[in-house]
């Protein structure tokens, strides 16, 4: 089990927690999956703030799979590994999506990654979302700004892969 892309497998070995789910996403599953993952990572994540950030990231990604997938199964690949004295997190989601969703997501992630100031960009996305009925991009922006994670993506045909990565500070790890 060594996929975790796009592009660069960051956590090939030494995973403390690795969970790969392939399933038909439903809203009723989100809480249970969050709880399952938390039960696995909390023993390795001492800092409650880091643990809270992680739960937020997981929740937003799981909801996006429910909201935007056009076919089953989807994949959700969760990994935490040691990196030096700290922990490195990588989460990959993969799903099929409508063309307009793919275009919108690509534009949002490109803008997000080009932003010099994550907080200022987040504030801008928040302000813009007030006038949008759907697809505000708040979930992805929140993962970046509040979850303090980096996002990359890959689109092949109608298949969208999002990779979320971040480091949890040494103080947070056992």
């Amino acid at each position: 089990m060594s996929k975790l892309e796009p592009g660069r497998p960051t956590l090939a070995n030494d995973a403390l927690v690795r969970v790969l789910l392939s399933y038909s996403p439903r809203v009723e599953q989100i809480g249970a999956v969050c709880d399952l993952l938390a039960s696995l990572y909390v023993p390795h994540v001492r800092d409650p703030d880091a643990s809270s950030r992680l739960r937020l990231v997981v929740h937003e990604l799981l909801e996006n799979l429910v909201k935007y997938s056009t076919a089953s199964p989807v994949e959700f690949d969760f990994c935490i590994a040691r990196e030096g004295a700290g922990l490195r997190v990588a989460i990959r989601t993969e799903n099929r999506a409508a063309v307009d969703r793919l275009t919108d997501t690509e534009a949002r992630l490109t803008a997000l990654n080009a932003a010099h100031d994550p907080v200022a960009h987040y504030d801008e996305v928040i302000r813009a979302s007030a006038g949008r009925r759907e697809g505000s991009g708040l979930g992805l922006a929140r993962i970046h700004a509040e979850g303090e994670m980096l996002l990359s993506h890959l689109v092949v045909g109608d298949r969208l892969t999002i990779l979320v990565e971040g480091t949890i500070s040494p103080r947070s790890s056992r």
Binding site: D49, R55, H59, E63, D123, I126, L138, R142, E146
Partner: protein, 124 residues
């Protein structure tokens, strides 16, 4: 229900309970603001805004101390509400009461405060 009344909303894992005293409305939010809560919360905040403007309230306090989680859709419902309030000629205040041990609240609510620093205050 007329335009000056706000009823409680209760579902399996999310509730909003209002109370009114001295021109100040308090709403206690409990449970988890997830996908199930999104539509009712959005409607509830629209209704809250109607009541607050019709009664000429000075402040609406949102008690988050028993709100364990809020997803981005519920977060957006607050963005829309705050945006409506800040564009009023004489906006009422919105005060969030938080629990510092519920860590997402500080990050998320600080972002809401930055959206309307003259309207939103954080407590806790």
């Amino acid at each position: 229900m007329n335009t000056t009344q706000l009823a409680p909303f209760v579902s399996d894992n999310f509730s909003c309970t209002p109370s009114l005293a001295r021109q100040k409305l308090s709403i206690e939010f409990t449970g988890s603001g997830d996908m199930h809560a999104m539509t009712p919360l959005s409607e509830y905040l629209k209704r809250t805004h109607e009541v607050a403007t019709n009664l000429g309230l000075l402040e609406v306090a949102c008690d988050f101390r028993k709100l364990t989680f809020m997803n981005s859709s519920c977060f957006k419902a607050f963005v829309v509400w705050i945006d409506s309030v800040k564009n009023l000629p004489a906006p009422y205040k919105i005060r969030f009461q938080t629990d510092p041990t519920i860590h997402w609240q500080r990050r998320s609510l600080e972002a809401l405060r930055r959206l309307a620093i003259n309207v939103v205050t954080l407590e806790g």
